[in-house]
């Protein structure tokens, strides 16, 4: 019996073309975050918030589907969007780690959302100019939704950090945990840099300074001094994950794993 090893699967990622890795990475980012958000369904603090978080999750599922559909076309191996989402293992997932962290408490979910919302507002805005027409078209749909998300996550950060001692403490704890994972958002890998030169991708590293400035200024209003952590945990784009992704995929992929080729 042949057993696939982790290193063999990691190698699989390296075998893909830069464009394939790029689109798949963006798809994984969206799907994994979407799943984390959807875990609030029926568990949010109150009904309206429940609906709102589920709708944000839906926007991210839509974004993931568009990227997966395109990724399937690019790799041209006969896999469809569902195969990519449900039949790849942890080591083949290449999402950035911040998306996969467990949903935590409500403060944690909203702080993560705020941090990535600010990032995606800047990132997608630039991705609109991609020379790849499909990527630019997906960015055009996603950027409008992401602007709306930020409009909703910002007031929550303000409200919670200026609310009770308890709510402020939870915001601070969430920031403390998340700041180790924000650096990866701005990390450029070699293959991605090649795509930047071709005008397809966005230079993530150029967004670090404006992102820092925006986040610091916003949080300063609530008298929070935000500094990036010197310790940065990374590895997502190479299939190296926190312990949490495997557990999440176990749950998310359960049906397809137990009943292969199951359809609605």
């Amino acid at each position: 019996m042949e057993v696939a090893t982790a290193s063999a699967k990691t190698f699989d990622i390296g075998q893909q073309s830069p464009l394939s890795r790029f689109v798949l990475g963006l798809a994984d980012d969206a799907l994994v975050l979407s799943h984390r958000l959807s875990q609030w369904c029926s568990k949010a603090p109150y009904l309206e918030e429940d609906i709102a978080l589920s709708n944000v999750a839906l926007d991210y599922i839509g974004r993931a589907r568009m990227f997966y559909q395109y990724a399937a076309i690019i790799e041209d191996k006969g896999r469809n969007e569902d195969d990519l989402a449900y039949l790849r293992d942890e080591r083949q997932y290449t999402n950035l780690l911040i998306h996969e962290l467990p949903k935590g408490d409500f403060a944690f979910t909203m702080v993560r959302q705020f941090l990535v919302d600010v990032f995606y507002n800047m990132y997608l805005e630039q991705l609109l100019a991609s020379t790849d027409e499909t990527i630019a078209a997906i960015a055009a749909k996603a950027v409008k939704e992401t602007r709306y998300h930020l409009k909703r996550s910002e007031p929550w950060i303000t409200q919670l950090s200026q609310g009770t001692d308890e709510s402020r403490q939870r915001i601070l704890c969430a920031l403390d945990e998340l700041k180790d994972f924000t650096g990866e958002l701005f990390e450029m890998l070699e293959w991605e840099a090649q795509l930047v030169e071709a005008g397809i991708a966005v230079d993530r590293s150029s967004l670090q300074a404006p992102w820092d400035a925006y986040v610091q200024k916003f949080l300063a209003v609530s008298e929070i001094d935000y500094q990036d952590s010197k310790l940065q945990i990374r590895g997502g784009r190479n299939g190296i994950h926190t312990e949490h992704l495997g557990q999440m995929l176990c749950e998310m992929q359960y049906l397809q794993r137990s009943y292969p080729n199951m359809n609605w």
Partner: protein, 177 residues
């Protein structure tokens, strides 16, 4: 006095250029009857609001024996797209067109300016406040401008939840996008 203001705003009908562009595509199409057949197909969640009025229906192309219907989805995760696709095919099949394909395109990206004036009226009739370019949301029941947002999201991705402070009605607002 308020009546005069209301009349003034309705006296000058203006077509948004984005909608006007869609009208021009429809009017210049050489398969007008197909557009009319699809006028019977509505959004599954918004009774009476046709795919045309919603702005989802972008184009219809007819070659020898194949009809291609081009639609652009509202929100990227909107699950209604599948129902719209099936309903459009069903309507054309019923009218005697056997081979129908539906293409979902991302360009042009859907936005609320694509909604027809009739579509906005239909939204109001459903007690949903239509998207506003000026950012003011009037109560679709008593028309008061004194409204407040309850939640940035409503029953579907395209809506937000509002309350009228005058008649206290809780209503959906079709978000401007």
């Amino acid at each position: 006095m308020t009546n005069t203001t209301e009349q003034l705003t309705t006296v000058i009908p203006t077509l948004h250029p984005v909608y006007a562009q869609r009208v021009s595509v429809r009017n210049n199409a050489d398969c007008g009857e197909l557009w009319q057949i699809l006028d019977a197909v509505c959004d599954p969640e918004l009774p009476g609001l046709t795919l045309w009025d919603l702005g989802v229906l972008q184009d219809i192309q007819q070659t020898d024996n194949l009809i291609t219907v081009v639609i652009t989805p509202t929100y990227s995760g909107c699950p209604a797209v599948d129902a719209m696709r099936e309903d459009a095919i069903k309507a054309l099949n019923k009218a005697g067109y056997a081979k129908v394909a539906v293409t979902v395109v991302l360009v042009p990206a859907w936005n609320t300016d694509m909604i027809s004036p009739a579509g906005k009226q239909q939204l109001k009739a459903l007690h949903i406040a239509p998207p506003s370019n000026e950012g003011k949301v009037d109560c679709p029941v008593c028309h008061s401008a004194d409204t407040q947002v309850l939640s940035e999201f409503g029953s579907t991705a395209c809506k937000a939840m509002y309350r009228c402070n005058k008649c206290m009605e809780v209503f959906d607002y079709f978000k401007k996008l």
